[in-house]
Structure formats: C-alpha cells, structure tokens
Amino acid sequence: MKPERLTRRELLLKSAALGSLTVIPTLSFDEALWAWHQSEQKPRKPTAWDEIGPFYKREAPQSVQLRRPGDPGLPVHVSGKVLDTRGNALSGAKMEIWQANHLGLYDLDGYSYRTTLVADGEGQYSFDSVMPGHYPGRVCQHIHYLVSARGHKPLTTQLYFATDPVFEGDPEHNYTRDPLIQSSDLVRPVTLTGDPSEIHALVNFEIVLERL
C-alpha cells in the first residue's frame, strides 16, 4: 500500500475511528504515522464462510433502505468495509444481502428485506433495516451476505448479533449453540443508540475477501 500524507489531526481521527492503534503520548508524530501504516498493512483474516441458505433470490434491487416507514421491529443500521486480506479497500465489490423480517419470515415472492449494494470508493457500505426475527428451525438471528469482487473468491456468509438472547451475553463461548455459525468472528457487537422513544441498533460488519 502506498503511504499517504496525513496531517496530525487526520492521523488521530483515523486511529480513534479504527480503534486499531493506541497512540502513546511519548510517541513522535512520525513514529505514530509509521505505526499506523503498519497496523493498516498487517494481513487480515478472511471473513469466515457460512452457508448460503435456501432463500437467496437474485436480482434484488439496489437500496440502502430495507426498512420501510412504519415497519415493526428494532431499527438497525449495518455498515462496514469490504477489504482484501492486505487491508486494501475493494471498491465496487458487489454485496447481495437478504434477511427475514422482524417475525423471522423471508419474502420469497417479492424483495422485502433484500438488496444489492456496491461498495463505494473506500470499500464502504451501509444499509438500514430491522433486527431480523428468529427463523423457526434456525437458532440465531442472522443476515445473509453474498459478496463478490473481481479477482477474489466469492463469499457467502452470515452476520450474527452479540445481543441475540441465544448467546446469553457470551457469544465467544456460546456461538456454537447455532451449528451453522462457523466462527465467533461473525457475531458482531451491537450498539444501541438514540433516545428512549426511538432506540436503534448500530452494527459494523467488515468483509475480507481472499484473492483467487
């Protein structure tokens, strides 16, 4: 990765945002910049595979707003980046995303809670939805992803939520309660925000693809 020129302020902001670097007060600016680049360039573990499930539907329309006005359920905002294993943003990566509604029902006849997204120039994506319900026969709440990018292996995976009651607050140990969860890395922290009358959830889910 080509080093970029950063101001002291930009460096501090990036470090704080990523949570990936603790700047020790005695560190010089150049040392901190070097350390940040090292942090950015370290190999990343590819996102764990998870099965596609039976309800993938192709040709979902592109929309960042899966939750329509008045839809019941806890609003959730999912965001993240699509990267390669060297930490480079995969701009233009295609993401097909689908989930059950808040009752755990999939829309087979239409495209509710289904979307196709394209990662932006920095590999970022986001969408607004509702917390999926528990699909009968599946243990955990989940959102399906099918991600593809030129020169990289397509990935099917699923996003899970650390707040799922199934995990009893300890997803690191209890994720195997759902036999389909292949890695605890797929269980993501959930931040609840907003005023008490309008709480919504924030979830970050980074996708790392392997090269072909």
Partner: protein, 322 residues
C-alpha cells in the same frame, strides 16, 4: 393418525418383527431405541437407512421390518444420508465434514472422505458405481465407489449445490446450484453440458425424466420447471405451488408418467408440508397428501407406488402416499 398395526421393537439387540404391506390409512412403524436424525429410502431394494441419535446407522428391510445391519457412526450429527438403489452402499456425511460410504453387506467403510465443508447433498448413480457429493458451498465431487477414488470435481459455484441427480442411464448429472442455476454435466468427465438460469430463487430439488432428455426442478420459486437437458432451455413451467419444493425431494416415477415432490413450509421448515404428485405429460396435479409429521424422504417402488418416511421421537414411519 390412528395407532400403528405394525411394529418392530428392539430390546437389547433382539428384534421382533411384525410387518405387512404399507397402506394408506396408517404407516408401517419401525420402532427405534433413539430419535431419528436422518433417513434414506431405497424402494427398489426395499430398504431404509436410518441414523439415530444414539450414533447408530441401521439398515432395515421394508418388506418384513427386519433389522439387517447396525453400524456404529462417530456422531449422530449427520447432515446427509443416501443409499444406492440396490441397497448395497450407504453414504453418511456429518457436520464436521467427515463422510463415509458403508458397505451394507459387511458393515465396513468402503470409503472415508474429509470434505471441505459438511455435505448439502449426495446421490448415488443408478447402477451404484458412482456417488456425487456436494459439500456445502464447494464444488461437487464425484467418486468411483469400487475404486475408492475421486474422479473429478465440478467448477466452483458461489454458494455451492443444494441437490443432485443422475440420469437413468448414468451418463449425466444435474445440479441445483445456490446461484439459482440448474446445470447438467457429463457424468463421466464432469464437463458442463447445459445451464439454465430461469430461476430467481435456488432450485432445491431435481430429477431427470425417464429418457434423460429433461430435468425437472423446483425450489424457492414454488414452480416445478421442465428444462431441456441438452441445451438448458426452459421447456415449461407448472402452476405455482403454495410452498417451495424441499431439499432433494423430487422424484420421477419408474415409468416416467408421474413426478412427486415433498414441499416445505417456507415460514417454518420444521412443520409438515404436503407431498404432491403431478402427471408429467399434462402437468396436472394428481394428488396432494399432508403427512402428520414432516416427510424425511421418499422413493418410488418398482411398481410405481410412492413411499414416504416420517418419524416421531422413537420410531420411523413408512407411508404409502395416496
């Protein structure tokens, strides 16, 4: 469901059989010492292979309810069980990706495999010489059973393959793939012959018609679809069903006149869903039957009767589908 007239009870290794012909009103019941986790039927050989939660693979003669063989398996967490038409070979694949082909004659493992992921489907060729296995999310692998070696694997498809079928002459293999395509391969070489992309949702089950010229497939689209096996072109679609066809649950009758499918309740797969039969020539629905418990498998007998397996906590039920 009325009380069963037929029971086979196991007591500490002793089996007592009281069996008769399966009939419409009530099922034949094979009582097992532990709940059923996976079933495969071969109506041609009149056998059922059953994996139960006590880590036992048992082979049953459906004609008289005899226990033919018990094989210890490492885990009851079996995702896929398959049986060859002649009942000789039984495939089991577990959730850790450990897969075996068992010889029913000896109870020994003929072939042991470590799959990259747990299997989503497996199917023996009609002559029992080959098996196609679809590890979840990975290319289909085809093995020569007697030679105990892999012949080839198909090209990778995003999401893998949900269902497999050999043509009756075993020259072709059809796959229902997660990218929603139905593909036909040369069974000897693994070369892609045809591809159909008319499904929006994944087909979950398929079979060839009797002469191998058409593939019948159904799944999330809830429409049974006829595809030309040579070109991949859509031939026709039947009327939409209420529910999708379930995983690997579609079979054409021996004479090719009927096709049967187990549907699955999309909003809750753990609930029973109908078994439906259509006339192949007209596409008209011939019958629809709701089993009392979810149908776990089905097969056609040589004389054209459809049997279906269900289970409760301690027994396997074999129904003749009306």
């Amino acid at each position: 469901m009325g009380p069963s007239r037929f029971a086979l009870v196991l007591f500490a290794g002793f089996a007592t059989a009281m069996m008769a012909q399966t009939h419409q009103g009530s099922p034949d019941v094979i009582r097992l010492p532990a709940p059923v986790t996976s079933v495969a039927l071969s109506a041609t050989s009149n056998r059922a292979a059953v994996v139960s939660s006590d880590k036992k693979l048992t082979l049953w003669d459906l004609a008289d309810g005899r226990l033919l063989r018990t094989i210890a398996v490492a885990t009851a967490d079996i995702d896929v069980t398959a049986i060859s038409n002649d009942g000789r070979w039984i495939f089991t694949g577990d959730h850790s990706g450990n897969a075996f082909i068992w010889d029913a004659n000896t109870g020994q493992a003929q072939l042991q495999m470590r799959l990259p992921h747990y299997p989503g489907a497996a199917c023996f060729s009609h002559d029992g010489k080959f098996i196609a296995i679809a590890p979840m999310g990975d290319p289909v692998q085809v093995f020569d059973v007697a030679a105990t070696r892999m012949l080839y694997q198909t090209n990778a498809v995003a999401g893998g393959t949900a269902a497999l079928a050999f043509s009756r002459d075993d020259t072709s293999i059809a796959t229902a793939d997660a990218d929603t395509a139905v593909r036909v391969y040369d069974a000897r070489t693994g070369k892609l012959v045809a591809e159909n992309r008319d499904f929006l949702l994944e087909a979950l089950a398929l079979d060839f018609n009797s002469d191998g010229r058409q593939v019948l497939a159904g799944g999330g689209d809830k429409i049974l679809t006829f595809i030309d096996a040579a070109s991949g072109k859509l031939i026709r679609r039947l009327q939409k069903t209420d529910e999708p066809v379930s995983f690997s649950s579609l079979k054409v009758s021996p004479d090719g006149s009927l096709v049967a499918a187990i549907l699955m309740k999309a909003e809750n797969m753990t609930q029973p869903a109908p078994v439906v039969m259509w006339e192949v020539s007209t596409g008209q629905k011939k019958s629809q039957w709701m089993p009392p418990t979810p149908a776990l498998g089905m097969d056609w007998t040589r004389d054209g009767r459809l049997i279906s397996a269900g289970a409760d906590s301690d027994s396997l039920h074999i129904w003749r589908v009306p």
